[in-house]
Symmetry: C2
């Protein structure tokens, strides 16, 4: 085993589960390992305590004439349950063929540790880096990066940079370099429909009053037409249509409709008419019910008309939809269609805009050249992702810079699930990627 | 306090909660009290053990030339929680003005004990009864009369009768004699809609697959049109239209739309177009959602597309809808409208037909004359009820006879709730009712 892989294994052995208080000491030991590693490379590595888990910042000696690149990663990992589904112990990294099995192998220790080792290689070879680097490694990504925003705000000058690089997204397939230039935004709300003042006997009163469970169902059903278009008035008004190059790029990807079908296991795909599955997932907004409930939830039957029922909705947003505007339109829609005999209360939840950067910008092009160099000269594919990464938006909002999303996660890497794994191939490609990235950004 | 009221109080002191195993001995003591009382009146009173709580049967010496009347009641009561909401101890009957406060006062001890005392008065006055009487007093009504059906089947000859009398329904208002001649039937089913093979991230996959929560909502919404009519094909085919006299009778009742509005606390009534609230509740079939659920049920939001969602439906049936046919039609409807991208599994639940008897039959007329005699000569109102009473159907199916539903429960009697009460006025009316009923049925 190479010394680099041994070091990664050492890193992976820390059970740095951020959500579990019993692992608090492991979090400290884990960040201590990183500090020691980065210090040994000659970087100025400081551990910053927060209200939660520590944040590590490490810098090389900055030179004002050089661009500054922030490299973000997180050393915390997801819990491991169900433990019995793991084929190898989650915190005893195990190499099987090309795959390293361990919790955090892909998400995110393996990916950001490759960046650290890339910096180490460059330093060993040239004695210095071609750019100013700031490593920002947090311990709370898996619990919502709760203290990162205020840390960025407090240390805005200390963290001033020109661009941020993050390897925490996916590759469309093994060996295919993938550059993610956009993420969907999100806007959440919950609504509760109330009818009778108390739960009623559905035999005694059924037929003469509106059932809140039926009303919620009707209101949820009103969100889409039969072709999958969202029926909230004004919902699409500021949506940027997909550009031709994007649609062509995505149509050329191997991960198309068939893959979406296979990954999800649905009997058939269904979505907004006129778009492929990838366009629907990456480039079009959605209205999804994340939860619905009302009335009797147990075994068998209970003849009740519940006094209230609820639905939790989330909208995925694309450029240039404004989250607050979308929430307002959705709340207006729900209030307008709430049927006679019921009242509705809408509670707004968290929201954030879509993120998109120009992949044809100089940073974008540098990132793509680096990806190509890391993966045998192959042309990178340009994709978006359907989810939201709140820290990317925080970096944009607080530090004012774009993030280069240089994912090394493969479709079968099992993040957040048992048997998480990372390939040695991608670990090594990540080291090359970092070296190439710093060189390309220095140009 | 009259000796009759004292005896009722003694009966009410037994905490005969059938659902609570710790009250098993109280159930035996309670039925022992009844046996002693009925034996003391000269009836042949036998306690029959069942797999659950005992059933008491008491008969006067039968004469083959006389009609036989079964009088049904139940000596078990509902639990008393929440106990702190009771203003007086639930098993220490307390007289406040005209009201007797105690668990079981109305449901059903007070009502059937009035029948017992009516028989006692007749026996004291005439030395015999004008009809053959069979008291059938069970201890499991509040837990679904689980052993009554098999008891009726086993003892069909022993229990042979011409008609059954039951005081376990409601009066539309104090002092207004009320004869219930119909009950709605019921048919229950549950359906589960499945989409993806596992819960999915609504950011990653949202937009390209059908969300089972949305699908359930759509399917539930498909059950009614905007005028409240049920859209299941064939659902109304065998519905007997309401007769003119019924609609006129119900329109004349004080307990109309305004009362339904007040009792339920809904902001507005809503139901099948062209019918009053009472017609909707008593004479028209329904499709109600008793429970709906899927996805995240906790606080806040979770961006998940659930792999499945469910709804529990119950249909209230009117003559001559066949429960099995209605379930078949409903299941067909749900399977037909299950949207692309999902599958549906329908699980059928319990079902029973509507019950209706002709209030203008000789038994019906006798019952009405008795009610009138018990309540100052007032004309009885003829109503149906919206719920189902399974024992009425069992008596019909197994013994082949109609039940005369001679309710003494007032709208504010709080059955199943804290501060259950029964008026002395109705207790005394119940005694008169029994005396008149036996005489009228003997004619």
């Amino acid at each position: 085993m190479s010394p680099q892989l041994s070091e990664l294994f050492e890193f992976l052995r820390f059970p740095s589960i951020s959500t579990d208080r019993s692992h608090r000491e492991d979090m400290h030991r884990c960040v201590g390992f990183l500090q020691k590693k980065l210090s040994s490379m000659g970087l100025d590595a400081k551990v910053h305590q927060t209200a939660g888990h520590p944040i590590l910042v490490a810098k090389n000696p900055p030179r004002p004439d050089r661009p500054t690149v922030m490299i973000y990663g997180h050393y915390d990992v997801q819990p491991v349950d169900p433990l019995h589904e793991w084929k190898t112990p989650p915190f005893e990294p195990t190499l099987v063929g090309d795959k390293i099995y361990a919790r955090g192998a892909t998400d995110n220790k393996g990916q950001h540790f490759a960046h650290i080792l890339g910096v180490e290689e460059t330093l060993k070879e040239y004695g210095e880096l071609p750019v100013n680097v700031i490593f920002l490694l947090e311990g709370e990504e898996e619990i919502g990066s709760v203290n990162l925003g205020s840390f960025l705000t407090q240390h805005r000058d200390y963290l001033r940079c020109d661009v941020c690089a993050v390897s925490d997204t996916g590759m469309i397939a093994p060996g295919i370099p993938t550059f993610t230039y956009g993420l969907r935004g999100i806007a959440c709300l919950e609504f509760t429909v109330r009818g009778p003042a108390l739960d009623l006997h559905s035999g005694v009163y059924g037929g003469a009053i509106r059932n809140p469970c039926s009303a919620v169902a009707q209101m949820v059903a009103s969100l889409h037409d039969s072709e999958g278009r969202i029926l909230i008035s004004g919902f699409y008004d500021s949506v940027q249509p997909l550009e031709r190059w994007e649609r062509e790029m995505w149509a050329s990807l191997p991960d198309g409709d068939a893959a979406t079908l296979a990954e999800t296991g649905v009997p058939a795909l269904w979505g907004e008419d006129g778009y492929t599955a990838l366009e629907q997932r990456w480039g079009r907004p959605t209205a999804e019910v994340n939860g619905i409930g009302g009335g009797y939830q147990g075994e068998g039957s209970k003849t009740v008309i519940a006094r209230e029922a609820f639905a939790k909705l989330s909208f995925r947003l694309v450029p240039d939809q404004q989250p607050d505007e979308i929430l307002r339109l959705a709340a207006d829609h729900l209030r307008a269609i709430c049927p006679t005999g019921c009242t509705v209360e809408v509670t707004l939840g968290h929201a954030g805009p879509a993120y998109v950067m120009d992949p044809h910008s100089s940073h974008g092009q540098a990132a793509q050249r680096a990806l190509s160099r890391a993966f045998d000269g192959k042309e990178p594919r340009l994709i978006r992702e359907g989810g939201s990464i709140p820290i990317i938006q925080s970096v944009k909002d607080i530090l004012g810079v774009d993030s280069l999303l240089l994912g090394l996660a493969l479709p079968d890497c099992q993040i957040h699930a048992p048997n998480e794994n990372f390939t040695v191939t991608n670990f090594e490609a990540g080291i090359r990627l970092n070296r190439a990235l710093l060189e390309e950004l220095a140009k």
